[in-house]
Amino acid sequence: MTTDISETLASSPATPFTKQRQRTLWQDAMRRFSRNKLAMGGLIVALLLILTAIFADILAPYPYDKAVLSEARQFPSAKHWLGTDAIGRDLLSRIIYGARTSLLVGFLVQAVAFSIGIPLGSIAGLRGGKFDFVVLRAVEIMTAFPSLLFALFIMSVLGTGLFNVILAISVTSWVPVCRLTRAQLLTLREKEFVAAARAVGAREMHILVRHILPNALPPLIIMLTLGIPTAIFAEAGLSFLGVGINDPLPSWGKMVGSSAAYLRVYWHLGLFPTFMIAITTLSFTFVGDGLRDALDPTLNM
């Protein structure tokens, strides 16, 4: 357990090495991450996608909702690089704006999941007792309940639309965050470095903020990154079933769902959006996997 002792020394305010030692942990991780080709590739693609989403207005050749019925269902051409959809909207423009929808859902769902999951999980882990019991049972029920069905229920209560989709997916996505936070706190609480900090007379709040939370952070960061593709996946699924994003807002999942009937002829309507969904979910997953390898080399997944 030499690492635990060195970490205690590193983060305890009594030693002069504090800042330097803490930085090297993250620098080490950075170095490991940048050597991982798959993770770096994923990071570049993910950044490109984020830029696409931000600058969709500049990048898209046409407005996403401009329908020209006389140009409906055209195959890719010089005028419409990826062709047009069933009511004559430019597919490339809709795919570019679709990145905005997907990433917005991905990031906002994670934001909600973490702002519910972390406080709930930490209080349950630290307090224990009745609160812990109630949270645990809630987590158990939510795990037994298929998350897609839960989202469907919520959608049928709220109606379709972008923010309702975010809400419906968030309702179940805090559960794994809460579980992980609680489990992390339970293990870390018993570690030697916490006992050592307590022995030198550190206050509970100080121990929590300076010793426990920094150590609980790496797995949570990994979960955050891997949760983004999961949320994007969920949005695409709901929209595929026709109960997600409302027209005319573009969503890749919706494009795939509505293309299924014409796939035999109009292959481009199915191919391009599915390609984007795959690229997006994969790139974020590679980043998450890379982070896991970088932050926790002992895991060896």
Binding site: I141, F153, R179, R264
Partner: protein
């Protein structure tokens, strides 16, 4: 052991009831009922009559207890969507295609996943290992309706080897099975690989090698035996998912199965069917969960079961 099982059972019964209550409250919280006259206005007396017939005019708790009491006698009521048959008959009619597809998928996914996982672990860091790892990530991350669309584009549209969908001939099973199996196959392969790698480094494997056993004997007798145990807990809970079907796969390949009813029952406020489907899912889930827990202790005596380990 017995005490542990009783504890788990109690907790499962609790979850089962909680799921049923949550479902019941959720579906009644959804605005609009099954007999809203948006399309054909009814005189108030007739509507009251219908509501009375289905017991929807009673207080909620009474509806719930009545429903659960009947459900325990295997009477799940009549689906509002198809009033000519009982929910039991409806499920009996539409579940077989889903079960057939699910069984085929489970077989393919587990068999291929094991083989790929084992091969990847034995040849760690080879091109085979990298390919399997990449495909596993693809299978876990990419939604199955994306894979399904690609399969249709390739095999049905481009090569014209297979029909685009339907459920009449044996050929129809191939594409949905592939699209559906990739996800669980990837999970099995990934977990098998990791737990094989762990077992390969264990002391008892070094001992086995040191006493001069052939590589084959080491892998099959010592490594595999220990590596496959953790898979039970990982893959057990996947089975009920696969047996209740995927809405996406069934809608893309036009399979007349159970999957689509999860969506339509919620959307059409088909209360009896929603409840029956949720009880089915929760029941199957609890059953496999318990079964895999028990199997685990029987196979691996090193595991001591306590309440704390369950979460």
């Amino acid at each position: 052991m017995t005490r542990y099982i009783i504890g788990r059972l109690a907790s499962l019964v609790f979850v089962f009831f909680a799921v049923s209550i949550v479902t019941f409250l959720l579906m009644h919280a959804v605005p609009g009922g099954p007999f809203d006259e948006t399309k054909m206005p009814l005189p108030p007396e007739a509507k009251a009559n219908i509501l009375h017939k289905y017991g929807l005019d009673r207080p909620l708790w009474e509806q719930y207890t009545r429903y659960m009491w009947r459900a325990f006698h295997f009477d799940f009521g009549i689906s509002y969507q198809s009033p000519t048959e009982s929910v039991t008959d409806l499920i009996r009619r539409v579940w077989p295609p889903t079960i057939q597809l699910g069984a085929a998928t489970i077989t393919l996914a587990y068999a291929m996943g094991l083989i790929f996982g084992i091969l990847a672990a034995i040849r760690q860091n080879s091109w085979l290992d990298y390919t399997v790892t990449f495909l596993a990530t693809l299978g876990i991350t990419v939604p199955n309706f994306v894979i399904a669309t690609w399969l249709v584009l390739l095999f049905a549209v481009r090569l014209r080897w297979l029909p685009t969908g339907g459920w009449e001939e044996p050929k129809n099973v191939i594409m949905p099975m592939l699209a559906y199996a990739l996800g669980p196959m990837a999970m099995v392969a990934r977990y098998t690989r990791v737990s094989m790698l762990e077992a390969l480094r264990a002391d008892y494997v070094r001992t086995a090698r040191a006493k001069g056993l052939t590589e084959k004997a080491v892998i099959f007798r010592h490594v595999l035996k220990n590596a496959l145990i953790p898979l039970i807990t990982v893959m057990g809970p996947e089975i009920p998912n696969l047996l209740t079907g995927s809405i996406f796969i069934e809608s893309i390949f036009r399979i007349p199965g159970l999957g689509s009813f999860f969506v339509t029952s919620i959307w059409k406020r088909d209360y009896p069917l929603i409840m029956a489907l949720m009880l089915l899912v929760a029941g199957l889930w609890g059953f496999t969960y318990l079964l895999s827990d028990i199997l685990y202790t029987i196979i691996d005596p090193r595991v001591r079961l306590t309440e704390k380990q369950s979460l």
